[in-house]
């Protein structure tokens, strides 16, 4: 397990009496594309909060590239190459799209270079995401879907080793969803970063990731090859429910 780039050990988060995460273990290797699914309230976003330092876990350890970052502030996680997006885009609304990406390049991105030059400045990153033409517009004026794309751009500006994507494809139509998945794959392929991708569109996600982890009521109930996970009775029971079984049979 020493080759894991990111390693979460028995991570628990409690809010008062509510257990949001209950002893989750997860190892992510460099360059891995990992999907994360689970019903609403399963603890996926809470897990991202813990992985990025936004929320200090009640118990457990977080190791990034061999360094124990448990209880460290978010900027230390960023400095070690953990970059994330937020479910509701949190771009700097008054800054232009390009300034948003430049902000990340100037701080978290300062410590590292990308494997691929095409991702090393704001214009190139925005161009890759198809946002070149809105580069000088204030981020707050972009549509929600574009703000989600910009969130990816900002995270890329941080020159990550691990990219945490929290429902970046929410609200997209089927073809857009497919394009977004292709984009995420390209980011992984060309930069060699590890990606953990949370998405509610389970089927698209399953088609593109190599491995999927399932959270349910704060616990990890499955982790492995998407096809195997999809057949796992515990996952079907917990995540897809009766209705889901029927759907899967039909599909």
């Amino acid at each position: 397990m020493s080759e894991a780039l990111l390693s979460a050990r028995a991570v628990s988060v409690r809010f008062g009496g509510l257990v949001a995460l209950d002893g989750v273990d997860l190892d992510v290797r460099a360059g891995e594309l990992l999907g994360m699914i689970g019903p609403n309230g399963a603890g996926k976003t809470t897990f991202f909060h813990a992985l990025s330092g936004v929320l200090v876990p009640t118990a457990g350890r977080l190791v990034v590239a061999g360094e124990d970052l448990t209880r460290r502030p978010p900027h230390v996680f960023a400095a070690h190459g953990v970059a994330r997006t937020f479910q509701t885009p949190r771009v700097f609304r008054d800054m232009s799209a390009a300034e948003n990406v430049r902000f990340a390049l100037e701080f978290a991105g300062r410590m590292r270079r990308h494997a691929h030059d095409a991702f090393d400045d704001a214009a190139a990153i925005l161009g890759f995401l198809g946002l070149a033409w809105v580069a000088s517009l204030p981020a707050g004026a972009l549509t929600p879907a574009r703000q989600r794309l910009l969130e990816i751009g900002v995270a890329l500006g941080a020159r990550p080793r691990i990219l945490l994507l929290d429902e970046v494809a929410a609200g997209l139509t089927q073809p857009e969803l497919e394009a977004c998945a292709q984009l995420i794959r390209r980011v992984r392929d060309e930069l060699g970063v590890a990606v953990i991708w949370i998405e509610h569109a389970v089927r698209v996600l399953m088609n593109h990731v190599e491995r999927v982890a399932v959270l349910h009521q704060g616990r990890k109930i499955a982790d492995g090859d998407p096809r195997a996970v999809a057949k796992d009775p515990a996952v079907i029971e917990a995540y897809l429910g009766e209705e889901g079984v029927a759907q899967r049979m039909a599909a």
Binding site: P73, P74, H75, A78, F92, F103, E106, F107, G109
Partner: protein
């Protein structure tokens, strides 16, 4: 390039202003001095509070600390050294309390910084009564009017130049990120705690130096007058009315305010505070971006 232009303009204005003691009457010079003081206070306040949207009411605390450094030290050190020491003491104080309170936001931060002024006021009052057996201090040998004016001018220019440099620096960018979304800035690698303490300390240095420089204008120094919350409130008002997120706003607004206050005081000695209050309410209601937003609006219309 833009930064260099702004610095050159600051220097040019400074040179022109340096000639005024030999051109103006004492009355007008006193007015200019008050403009300079409030310009420097408002600019240094905006250095931290403008981009971050934090509301600090600690200006009176820093100003008073500076004034007391002069009151205690002027007999044993030259005026200029006292001004510098006043700035450093206030900055040190700001760094210490900043480390303790800068995780607070909004009203909590405003209230605690206001409390700081009261805390230092009562601490010094107690100290003076118990150990020095005095309630105030007389400054026996104040420097001349020109020396005071030129010193305040230098501090003001230094504050403006620092504000220009901060805006163009990574620290300035970090502060803007903190103001826009502090947690997001953190996840993008900004050590927000360090940035906030640095900016808070920097802005306290100038408030402290001004307190130390202006203290000699009053021959008698006592805690209640130099820690007057009025100075802190006035600074915040000037900066907000001018537009705290801009550099020029607080400067223009301090001139506007000093002249307006003086004019109203002379013309309507009995109701001047009433008129001032009404004007303030109108400005905050109808011009929330400050006077600087008028300029932006005008430019937008023209384009």
């Amino acid at each position: 390039m833009k930064t260099r232009d702004a610095l050159a303009a600051t220097l040019g204005c400074g040179l022109a202003l340096a000639l005024l003691p030999w051109l103006l009457s004492d009355f007008v010079l006193a007015l200019v001095l008050s403009c300079l003081m409030y310009a420097a206070l408002a600019v240094s306040w905006s250095m931290f509070c403008g981009p971050t949207n934090y509301l600090s009411l600690a200006t009176s605390a820093f100003f008073g600390i500076g004034a007391y450094v002069t009151a205690w030290g002027l007999e044993s050190m030259p005026y200029l050294a006292a001004v510098f020491a006043g700035g450093l003491t206030a900055a040190l104080f700001a760094a210490l309390v900043g480390a303790a309170v800068l995780h607070l936001r909004g009203a909590y931060f405003a209230v605690i910084t206001f409390g700081l002024g009261e805390l230092v006021l009562h601490a010094i009052t107690h100290f003076e009564k118990t150990y020095a057996h005095t309630v105030g201090r007389v400054i026996s040998d104040p420097p001349g009017g020109e020396a005071i004016y030129l010193t305040v001018l230098v501090v003001t220019l230094a504050a403006v130049a620092t504000a220009i440099l901060v805006r163009a620096s990574r620290l300035g960018l970090a502060l803007a990120g903190i103001g826009a979304d502090e947690e997001r800035a953190q996840t993008l690698g900004v050590d927000t705690r360090r940035a906030k303490i640095a900016a808070f300390t920097l802005s306290a240095f100038f408030a402290g130096a001004l307190g130390a420089a202006m203290a000699v204008r009053w021959t008698y120094i006592e805690p209640l007058s130099v820690f007057s919350p009025f100075i802190g409130f006035q600074t915040v008002l000037i900066a907000m009315v001018g537009g705290a997120h801009t550099l020029i706003g607080p400067i223009v607004s301090s001139i506007f305010f000093s002249l307006l206050t003086e004019f109203l005081r002379l013309r309507f000695p009995y109701v001047f505070l009433l008129v001032l209050g009404a004007l303030l309410i109108a400005l905050v209601l109808y011009l929330p971006g400050g006077l600087a937003s008028l300029f932006t609006r005008w430019r937008r219309i023209r384009v």
